[in-house]
Symmetry: C2
DNA sequence: GTTAGCACTCACCCACACAGAGTGCTAACA
DNA sequence: TGTTAGCACTCTGTGTGGGTGAGTGCTAAC
């Protein structure tokens, strides 16, 4: 790690924080005042020149002040940033906002995304748990009309998926009973990755005369298992991209990137640590080379499941946003774990 | 309605279609060629001057060609536009895309929005049916674990709402039975607007010792009824706003507008006709004064329910988009009606 | 009513000058 | 050796003026 004199660290911190606040390059004179005129602006200029040399600061042009380079932000996040905890008020507010309506996992994640977008003024992304090894906990048939029913599947990943199925035959108690038995025998307690199309086909073949009645339901179950294995991304606050003038050049590319879906999923999947902060070109995808991504995983029942986080400019209030995202991920994890309580 | 000579109509049509295709102002010479040199460019210039006089064309500046004014688009849509039907291929493609996974109403609408965004390169908006007079068709309790259950509510508007509820007491057959009886007696066949907070309070008071077990469920039902009364908006293809250079000036305002939600809901609610095309300042909200909105209502069980449509620039391929949106609305209506079949 | 011919009008592009902010460097100082 | 005052320098942003070209509007003839 880079060794910096106390004063240079202080100067770097002032520049980062001031630039984060104003978006304007910071000149030596301003820093001088900010530091209570402890040293002259010329001294600060000398230090700033050194910091540029070290790659921690950048100069948009000769006659402008300095702005943090991506490495400068990184140094700030790793070494200078004040530890900040959400105060009880903020914590309470988030909890109430999130829990005002006890909802399904997918809706909870969507709502968490909305909250995050609101709090951060960035694009918020939340991913629902995708777990190929998830076990089917329960499957229920909910009759809706004579010919339609809803199938609900609860997986050990805490995720709940449902589909509406239409059957040509009337859905009565008999059918429900048969469905229940099939589920208990062939589906419940198995891994979702066992439920392949061939599996369904063999199963269907063994059903005899019930095959026509049952097959739409069984196909729906296969679809639901597929859905359990698939990551769902929820995007919120896309309007915030245009809020950040430094992103206006690449707003189009960014928008396109987040709408493409798959690369974003891959990125979230590749995260190993519970918290990931990627500044500028630390991001794998070059579409994000001028953006910062902050993502936190949440865990359902002690197992890392999905992520929630933001995509924004590199000029971000890291000191406040990182703890906020961490906290939100914690709350979501707890709420989703509850559904699995036996 | 404005009386125009055959030739002027033709010139207007050429200008509108060419401008839609290229985005460049159209000059007299180009039109001349397009019309097979039937008349000279000077003649066309004279006609164009008349069309400007009538307010159907506009001139970005003296030495540029002409572009359609908003009134010009309107005249085109009302009188000149070719009637276009989706061919069987396109129809089939939409149906397959939409119906690949028999889904819940909300998800169906979301998917329809995605399809529309894809097909039109515009922001697609779909609203789920909100009906204050909807009748509760069914309420079902789906146990998920010892202490959590899902409540599913089907309303006559074709909409299905669900919530996950956590109860301190264990959820067993007894509780399911009590719940079922309460639902049959107090909820099913009533209008969702009857299920007010006071109603729930009186009901709770009459439950005696079951009050603690039941109240979270009953509160959830009240929330669900509220949800049935509320319009849900699904936005898709927001990246498309940046695709249209003519909207880049107001991209920020537009983005903000569609994210505010309520005005958009009000707009959809105010539509009386099955198909609404508002060009530029025909839109009530001034944020849309340079945009076009095309919305079609879909009906569930012969009753107008929600809308689906797009927001884009005034420069749109009206001749193709309008039939596409109409068709999609028709398909959605049919699919949602099916769920209600008794 | 239609056409050819021509002057005219802007938007666009480029080059240039000017002001202002903030620096880099030098020489003096503690 | 580290710090400071002073000053020339550099580069952006803005505004001004001339040149080019596309497309028009107008006039006079057909």
């Amino acid at each position: 790690m880079l060794e910096l004199s106390e004063r240079k660290q202080h100067i770097l911190a002032v520049i980062v924080e001031r630039y984060i606040a104003t978006g304007e390059p910071v000149g030596s004179k301003v820093i001088c005042t900010q530091m209570g005129n402890a040293v002259s602006s010329a001294t600060i200029r000398n230090d700033m020149a050194d910091l540029v040399e070290l790659g921690l600061l950048a100069q948009p042009h000769t006659s402008a002040g300095r702005i943090p380079s991506q490495a400068g932000y990184r140094y700030y996040v790793d070494n200078l940033m004040a530890d900040y905890e959400l105060d009880a008020d903020e914590q309470e507010r988030i909890k109430i906002w999130l829990g005002s309506f006890s909802s399904e996992p997918d809706k909870l994640l969507e709502k968490a995304g909305s909250i995050l977008a609101e709090l951060t003024n960035c694009v918020a992304v939340s991913s629902s748990p995708a777990d190929s090894d998830a076990i089917i906990r329960r499957i229920e048939l909910v009759p809706l009309s004579n010919h339609t029913a809803m199938i609900v599947l609860l997986a050990s990943s805490g995720i709940l998926k449902s589909a509406v199925v239409r059957s040509d035959a009337e859905i009565n108690m008999d059918i429900a009973e048969v469905f229940y038995n099939i589920c208990q025998t062939y589906f419940v307690s198995r891994s979702v990755s066992d439920i392949s199309i061939p599996f369904i086909q063999t199963l269907v073949a063994s059903l005899g005369d019930k095959v026509f009645v049952m097959s739409p339901f069984l196909c729906a179950i296969a679809d639901l298992c597929e859905a359990v294995k698939t990551t769902d991304l929820h995007l919120k606050g896309q309007n915030n991209i245009l809020n950040h003038s430094e992103l206006s050049e690449e707003a189009f590319g960014l928008m396109d990137f987040i709408h493409r879906g798959t690369p974003l999923e891959n990125m979230l999947d590749s995260h190993k640590a519970p918290l990931n902060v990627a500044i500028g070109s630390e991001n794998v995808y070059r579409e994000l080379k001028n953006s910062t991504t902050i993502f936190s995983k949440y865990s359902v029942g002690n197992k890392d499941s999905g992520s929630i986080g933001i995509i924004g400019p590199t000029r971000l209030d890291y000191a406040h946003l990182i703890p906020t995202i961490k906290y939100l991920a914690g709350v979501i994890g707890n709420m989703l774990t509850e559904t699995l309580d036996e």
